[in-house]
């Protein structure tokens, strides 16, 4: 059994540990950032707010990496000092361990030759074909309103569901550990300094190449970065990357991941329309994450989040919305509510010959 150390484990990468049974012969050891050390010894669910896993959170970095073959080192807002990383790297290197870095971390640490969790599907050789070509399998896009929306958990949970139903799934993941699950992360050229048209054409080719090779029944496309600005002071990526990807590959179903807030039906209606006109895909599925955006600071120029748990979210996610509103509102950490949503997607795709044909 291969052991992978995951450091620091946090909400966005916790699915790597939670779904480790989807990676053959592998055990993932989740190790906490110092800020979270008080959770050491507890179940992973204390961190991600999901159901009990039997996977223990570790706080003892050195001991935990001792018998691991691989260390996946992720970027974290809880490790703000580069020296802290240097210290952990030095500690890990005292053992025979291979270290792979999240792309944003290797950029932050200015690492050049280090191994990053690279693409399964290389972008090299993608030319400018001059036109977009239809992707003729059903596509489900997983979009986000920002950070802490459990987007990666939705991506992997959905993969589990459709694979368990017997579908061959191709996937593009927003997290760079996607490769460990056997699928590609979002290609780096989408973040490069290229013009939007070229990115669209390249991404379209990238996806078609992947589909040609893997011959899947379904593509689950994780779309990084917020689909819109939060406000003028927190513009995020202004929704550029989502627009490019959604233009390049027509989606049949869009799932929007968002934090837990007191929403109204009108709000979801507006989001749905936003999807139709801006993202080329009407939105009917909304994942409500185990986090809430904090509003108590008088003036804030960045978003802060409060971790919640699935029980709380499930009991409040329909507070301002009628259960029969037509939108599928779910929490990915609740198997009952997420499986219901995924089943509805399956039915929707099966009943939609257009989707089966795909096409732009």
């Amino acid at each position: 059994m291969k052991k992978i150390a995951l450091f620091p484990v946090q909400k966005n990468n916790a699915p790597l540990a939670r779904y480790q049974n989807r990676i053959p012969d592998t055990e993932v050891i989740p190790i906490l950032a110092p800020a979270h050390k008080s959770m050491a010894g507890q179940d992973l669910s204390a961190l991600d707010g999901g159901s009990h896993t039997g996977i223990t959170l570790r706080g003892d970095f050195e001991k935990a990496v001792e018998d691991c073959e691989l260390l996946y080192l992720d970027d974290s807002r809880f490790l703000t000092r580069e020296e802290s990383y240097a210290e952990f790297i030095r500690t890990a290197e005292r053992h025979p361990i291979r270290i792979i870095y999240a792309r944003t971390l290797s950029e932050r640490l200015h690492l050049q030759d280090e191994e990053s969790c690279s693409q399964k599907w290389q972008a090299s050789g993608l030319g400018d074909a001059g036109k977009l070509t239809a992707v003729d399998i059903p596509v489900i896009s997983v979009l986000t309103m920002g950070n802490e929306t459990d987007q990666s958990h939705v991506e992997i949970g959905m993969r589990r569901f459709f694979q368990d139903q017997g579908y061959r799934v191709s996937q593009i993941g927003t997290q760079e550990y996607s490769r460990l699950f056997g699928f590609s992360a979002v290609p780096h050229f989408l973040f490069a300094n290229l013009d939007g048209k070229r990115k669209r054409l390249m991404f379209n080719q990238f996806v078609r190449r992947m589909i040609k090779e893997e011959k899947p029944d379904l593509l689950i496309m994780g779309v990084p970065e917020a689909v819109m600005k939060y406000n003028n002071r927190i513009p995020a990526g202004m929704g550029d990357v989502p627009c490019i990807m959604m233009d390049a590959v027509q989606s049949d179903i869009g799932v929007l991941c968002t934090c837990c807030q007191p929403y109204t039906e009108e709000y979801f209606k507006e989001l749905s329309l936003f999807g139709r006109y801006r993202l080329n895909c009407e939105l009917h599925y909304f994942n409500i994450s185990n986090s809430v955006v904090i509003n108590d600071e008088d003036y804030q120029d960045r978003l802060e989040h409060l971790p919640l748990d699935s029980g709380f979210v499930v009991s409040h996610m329909y507070d301002g919305v009628d259960a029969d509103c037509g939108f599928e509102i779910f929490n990915s950490y609740s198997d009952m509510s997420s499986d219901k949503a995924y089943r509805r997607m399956e039915e929707e795709l099966a009943g939609n010959p257009e989707a089966m044909r795909g096409g732009i």
Partner: protein, 479 residues
């Protein structure tokens, strides 16, 4: 239910602030009397027509607010368990000074100089308490407070050493508020080595500072502080830069003289400076600022506005008042955001008590912050051994429920700023006490809105960079 608006004028224009959109809207002179009728809740054909026109633009919507409830109420237990951002330790209640307006002077309900100090056991428990409950924040802030915390330097040192040992890889920022009389080499080197942010209380020139800030024997503390500061600046220039100053402006002071001192003093010309007024909350006797204070304040505000418009030299703006402009800019930046358009909301003001910046007193009792009365049972949130009582924290968080009837219809709802301490009468939380501060809160908001409109009328560019970050050295807050 009507609309919740505030009509106001400047010398050049007529405006209405609309709570339902959190926007300031310019109105025609002829419309203004109709807007005033709307504000007063009088309905007729004219108001109906105007409302129709405004609503077509998505503003002046019907007030849907029926219940006061803070949005963080449901998630309060999660805040208390995961998001303690700062913990302030009251190392001691003793002080070597006897400042006239100090919380411990006997003039306040909240404290007297008791002479007690925090044990090392309580210090460690307090640190553990905060560490355990701050996994949702990047850095934890630990503040040392008193009395005069440097009287307990040995315990302060041990506290920092405890953090360095037990939580060595956790990022912690330290702050200390001191009267500045007790610095010596060992203290300076220690605070510097641990990157402390130091706040020294300094009230202006000797004659004013020494009126209030005296040693127990009645001698003024100004000379000692200045001597210490000169020494630090000479020997530890880098550390000196991290010292900021807070000046408490007591009623009846010679404000011009204070202003002049801070503008002309070479020693501290580059350090951050904040201005506070004497806190009225929890004071036994009423405190009144005379007209001279307000005249000085308004004159300084006027100069800031003139400087923003290029009619006055920016460098000549008073250091004590210059970042009041930052507040105007912030107000402007947030217009249009988070309007009151739901049936349930809470006026701005309260932070999440027990999470944002809890203070631990010498006995381990938890309070929302260091500004509240430690003698008020309503403010006591719990103990480091047992944690915060969520019911008590909820009561402070939802302080607006005490004045629900008034707040539901108040145009100042989003800019109110009154927290639970304004409702604390020493024995209980009282709605009438809270309401007694409404007028000054509304007046402050109105002044800011007028300043914004005036600046706009004269073509000020709010997207420009009149004050950059460097200028943000002063803030006008209340102690």
């Amino acid at each position: 239910m009507g609309v919740v608006i505030k009509a106001f004028r400047t010398p050049l224009g007529y405006y209405v602030y609309d709570r339902s959109s959190n926007m300031i809207v310019k109105v025609e002179k002829e419309e203004y009397p109709v807007v005033l009728k709307l504000e007063a809740g009088r309905e007729d054909e004219e108001t109906a027509e105007l409302l129709k026109a405004y609503r077509a633009k998505g503003i002046l919507k019907e007030n849907r607010l029926t219940e006061i409830r803070h949005p963080a109420s449901q998630t309060l237990p999660y805040h208390l368990e995961h998001r303690v951002q700062k913990i302030t330790l009251q190392l001691t209640q003793s002080c070597n000074l006897r400042c006239d307006y100090c919380a411990y002077s006997g003039k306040y309900h909240q404290r007297t100089h008791g002479g007690g100090k925090m044990s090392m056991e309580t210090i460690k428990k307090s640190i553990d308490y905060a560490m355990k409950r701050s996994d949702g924040v990047e850095d934890l802030n630990i503040g040392f407070y008193g009395g005069e915390p440097l009287l307990e330097f040995e315990n302060l040192k041990k506290a920092v050493e405890y953090v360095s040992g037990a939580y060595h890889d956790r990022k912690v920022n330290y702050t200390i508020t001191t009267n500045g009389t007790l610095f010596h080499d060992e203290i300076i080197r220690f605070l510097s080595a641990h990157d402390f942010s130091v706040m020294v209380s300094l009230d202006g020139p000797k004659e004013l500072h020494d009126q209030n800030r005296v040693f127990a024997n009645g001698e003024g503390s100004f000379d000692r502080i200045m001597e210490n500061l000169r020494y630090i600046k000479e020997r530890y220039p880098v550390f000196f830069q991290k010292i900021s100053f807070n000046t408490v402006v007591p009623p009846g002071s010679d404000y011009k003289c204070i202003e002049h001192f801070f503008s002309a003093n070479d020693l501290i010309e580059e350090n951050h400076l904040s201005r506070t007024t004497v806190s009225e909350f929890s004071l036994k006797d009423e405190v009144r600022y005379d007209d001279r204070y307000f005249v000085t304040y308004q004159y300084q505000t006027f100069k800031i506005l003139m400087a923003a418009l290029g009619f006055y030299d920016k460098k000549k703006i008073s250091r004590m008042f210059s970042t009041d402009f930052v507040e105007i800019q912030r107000f402007y930046d947030h217009l249009g955001e988070a309007p009151v358009c739901t049936s349930c909301a809470h006026p701005s003001g309260p932070c999440v008590p027990g999470a944002r910046r809890p203070m631990v007193d010498i006995d381990g009792n938890l309070f929302p912050c260091e500004r509240v009365s430690e003698r008020s049972d309503a403010m006591k949130l719990g103990h480091v051994d047992t944690g915060c009582d969520p019911v008590k924290a909820d009561r402070l968080l939802n302080i607006g429920r005490l004045t629900e009837r008034e707040c539901i219809h108040c145009w100042n709802f989003l800019h109110c700023g009154l927290c639970a301490s304004a409702a604390d009468n020493g024995t209980a939380l009282a709605g009438d006490r809270r309401l007694s501060y409404c007028e000054s809160s509304r007046q402050g908001t109105l002044n800011t809105m007028r300043s914004i409109c005036l600046l706009r009328e004269y073509g000020y560019d709010f997207e420009g960079d009149f004050f950059d970050e460097e200028d943000r050295v002063i803030s006008g807050t209340e102690k």
